[in-house]
């Protein structure tokens, strides 16, 4: 009997599992796009670009936001709600800053390097791939906004850590995805 109940306890929450499967499918989408990039980069008329410097800024921002997200999650589990509020708010803000930085990056590429949507080189792929990544980050920011609103203005007290854990998992995922994409764009030439 005890063995059974132990196994029960170890069982992953269905929502969290669902999140992991969803992450797997998002990974496949970016795997498809980056393999298309590799195929295309070996063909004629491939055009390289210089990665705008601001993308390094956004990298730092999203790395820090992962850290704040983790602290928020830990504070929530320890029921230190004041600290939780501070860190969930800062994660939300950092996420928004990341989106703004990415948009600035796109604009710089467009205006300073004259990379438009004509053609099919690294620049056009960058708009599509980073663009889709920003959309996924945007989805995460919306989720954070919901948590943030609940934490500050919610009437009902939240005790289950599952929603925060889900948000944290997703947030670390978009962070890791960004690191992968950045390294990919630096590496594959």
């Amino acid at each position: 009997m005890d063995i059974v109940s132990n196994q029960q306890r170890k069982k992953i929450h269905p929502r969290k599992f669902t999140m992991w499967v969803a992450i797997a499918s998002i990974i496949m989408m970016f795997a498809g796009l980056t393999s298309a990039y590799i195929v295309k980069s070996n063909q004629a008329a491939w055009q390289e670009i210089e990665l705008p410097k601001i993308f390094w800024g956004s990298t730092i921002v999203i790395l820090v936001s992962s850290l704040t997200m983790q602290i928020a999650l830990r504070s929530f589990k320890q029921r230190e709600m004041r600290q939780y509020r501070v860190f969930i708010a800062s994660t939300f803000l950092l996420g928004s800053v990341f989106i703004i930085f990415q948009c600035i990056g796109f604009l710089q590429l467009w205006e300073q390097q004259q990379v438009t949507l004509k053609g099919s080189g690294a620049g056009q792929f960058l708009y599509v791939i980073f663009g889709l990544h920003v959309l996924h980050v945007f989805g995460g920011v919306i989720a954070l906004l919901v948590m943030f609103t609940r934490a500050f203005f919610g009437k009902i007290k939240m005790y289950s850590p599952v929603p925060v854990e889900l948000a944290a998992t997703y947030w670390h995922f978009v962070d890791a995805l960004w690191i992968y994409l950045l390294i990919f764009f630096l590496w594959v030439r």
């Binding site: 009997m1 059974v4 109940s5 029960q8 069982k11 992953i12 929450h13 269905p14 929502r15 599992f17 669902t18 499967v21 969803a22 797997a24 499918s25 998002i26 496949m28 989408m29 970016f30 795997a31 498809g32 796009l33 298309a36 195929v39 295309k40 063909q43 004629a44 008329a45 491939w46 055009q47 438009t116 949507l117 004509k118 053609g119 099919s120 080189g121 056009q124 599509v128 889709l132």
Partner: protein, 603 residues
């Protein structure tokens, strides 16, 4: 002793606590019960009925283009009455013909045999057979249907716009699909196709992640993975395929949308349309084919795997024998699921692929024959010396096995890159995939419908109509698709509007007429099935016993018309695998029955 019981009860509550609140929905409004329902059984019916409507449309399209193929140049005034400018003088316009074949493929492959099939049976059976009150996330499940509904609306609306729906084939290869000026079907219809398919992908991902996490996390007590019915294993692998391959189609379609509307050249290079040189440079049309077929091939297994599960279950029940080689069945499902991702380029043998690469894909493709043969032999050996009950469901299952063998054997032909030089894009390929995936999947789906209709609606489908449905469809399907092999071997191309100008193909004129006439008959019989379906929902013979087929699985332990939450009391505990038929002198032993002290060990 009491402490033990209390402890056991605590575990039980723990097991169901994720969604126990759902057992208490009593005062539901019409809208929350039938329209925006979160009950997996209602969602299954929604998928099914939407799928049936689509099947009627998609099937009608095939009848229309068969009219053109069987009677080229002949006038059918009624066509002009109905379709106006698309059939001037009662003759199908070339643009209309291409739109018809494109939409026939799209509708049947995605809207009927993916959403209509998986959506119906995964939703219906996963919670009922694995022993759960509902899906892991009933809300996402509901969203999954409504995204499918939106996709359907968008696709349907593309049929009614001035320039018509997409017309470049269901594979929407660029450049035809990427340039607005390439054909009238490449205008707005193509954009709607992409939007609809994007919504469709979202729907199938929401469904798929739910199926996977329900199967892995929400099984009832005692329901270990190896005690799952094969239906659940099959929809599990189907969902895995969908979750990992549909996103790649989405990436391909996003790039296509950019090429179409924003001026990029991912797929376009050096093209002249109507004497005008296009500005696009540097793209690769083959890139799209890779991205498309990375989904496209798993897609055919997404279609066939659920029906394999359904058929395994029905054959075992109606042979009153345990399924032969349960673990081999699961293993072969796994093998097919894995190989599905490694064979996509066999759709592209003649695109100028490196012959060495081609031969690797030939090898991997032919490997699929191994798990497929294992499954086929296991179905046959399950029936061997069984006490077979020829219900309509069983007949359709046997028909499935027959079709799967016939179509599977020609797969060995077309999977060979050398033979493919002769056979690609001929009627041989049409015959192959219609038999192995189209007709087979429909047979499996029909089998499932005849079998689980009592669970869905508390009534039976009419059996006499069922027998007529089966025999006409079986004979008709062979009459339609068998001759196409000969046409294809002679080199007759698919997708052509009119083959009569060629002397070498006009010899098949009579054959084509025969095929067309049989298609009309078979289509009419499917309409008869649809009538049977809707009539039986309201007027069919009522189910009076809880377990009409004397089956072992958990869905037959629920009330005849289960409410939301499926079991009125606790979810039953499972003590054995689902295939204890004719064991120890007993006809069947339900999964809920504890293993007796003197019971023999063997399955």
């Amino acid at each position: 002793m009491d402490a033990m019981n209390a402890h056991a009860e605590a575990i039980m509550t723990h097991e169901v606590h994720y969604d126990e609140h759902q057992a208490h929905h009593h005062n539901q409004s019409f809208i929350s019960k039938y329209i925006f329902s979160q009950d997996h059984k209602t969602i299954a019916k929604q998928f099914l009925i939407t799928g049936i409507i689509w099947a009627m449309i998609g099937g009608l399209f095939s009848v229309l283009f068969r009219l053109q193929l069987g009677f080229p140049g002949q006038s059918f005034p009624i066509l002009e009455t109905i379709f106006g400018k698309w059939a001037p003088g009662g003759e199908i316009k070339p643009e209309f013909y291409y739109a018809l074949i494109t939409m026939h493929g799209t509708i049947l492959v995605f809207f009927v045999l993916t959403a209509g099939l998986s959506g119906t049976f995964a939703n219906l059976l996963i919670p009922l057979q694995a022993g759960a009150r509902d899906m892991a996330s009933p809300f996402l499940n509901m969203l999954s249907y409504w995204f499918f509904f939106l996709a359907s609306i968008v696709m349907l609306s593309s049929l009614f716009i001035q320039t018509g729906p997409a017309a470049g084939g269901w594979t929407v290869y660029p450049p035809l699909s990427a340039l607005h000026t390439a054909s009238i079907g490449s205008e707005l219809g193509m954009d709607l196709w992409i939007v609809s398919m994007a919504l469709f992908v979202v729907s199938s991902l929401l469904g798929g992640i739910n199926y996977i996490s329900t199967i892995l996390n929400m099984r009832t007590k005692g329901m270990s993975m190896t005690r799952l019915p094969l239906t659940i294993w099959a929809v599990f692998f189907t969902a895995v395929l969908g979750v990992l391959s549909f996103p790649v189609l989405l990436s391909g379609l996003i790039l296509l949308l950019f090429d179409r509307n924003l001026g990029t050249s991912f797929y376009l290079s050096d093209i002249v349309v109507n004497g005008q040189i296009m500005p696009n440079e540097g793209g690769s049309a083959i890139l799209f084919q890779h991205l498309f077929w990375f989904l496209g091939h798993p897609e055919v297994y997404i279609i066939i795997l659920p029906t394999m599960g359904i058929v395994s279950e029905i054959i075992s029940i109606n042979s009153r024998k345990p399924i032969f080689g349960y673990m081999a069945m699961v293993g072969s499902l796994f093998a097919i699921c894995t190989l599905a991702f490694l064979v996509w380029a066999h759709h592209m043998f003649v695109t100028g692929m490196n012959p060495l690469l081609g031969s690797i894909f030939v090898l991997l493709t032919l490997l699929i024959a191994v798990p497929s043969a294992i499954k086929t032999f296991n179905w046959l050996t399950t029936m061997w010396r069984g006490n077979i009950r020829f219900t309509p469901a069983m007949l359709f299952s046997i028909g499935f096995v027959s079709m799967f063998i016939s179509g599977g054997l020609t797969g060995i032909f077309v999977g060979n890159s050398t033979l493919d030089i002769q056979l690609h894009d001929t009627m041989f390929v049409v015959a192959h995939f219609h038999i192995v995936m189209g007709v087979s999947a429909f047979f499996g789906m029909f089998a499932g419908l005849y079998h689980w209709f009592p669970k869905m609606f508390g009534r039976y489908l009419n059996t006499t109509l069922g027998y007529i449905h089966f025999w006409v469809t079986l004979i008709g399907a062979y009459l339609i698709f068998w001759p196409m092999h000969y046409e294809g071997l002679a080199g007759m191309p698919r997708r052509y509007l009119d083959k009569s100008p060629w002397v070498s193909f006009s010899q098949f004129g009579d054959l084509d007429r025969m095929i067309t006439i049989v298609s009309i008959i078979v289509y009419a019989v499917q309409l008869m099935f649809v009538f049977n379906f809707f009539y039986s929902i309201f007027k069919g013979r009522k189910v009076t016993t809880q377990n009409p087929w004397k089956a072992n699985t958990l869905e037959w332990t629920t009330p005849i018309r289960p409410g939301h939450g499926n079991w009125p009391g606790e979810i039953p505990e499972v003590h054995r695998w689902p295939y204890d038929y004719s064991k120890d002198g007993r006809d069947f032993i339900p999964q809920t029955e504890p293993v007796g002290a003197n019971e023999s060990n063997e399955h």
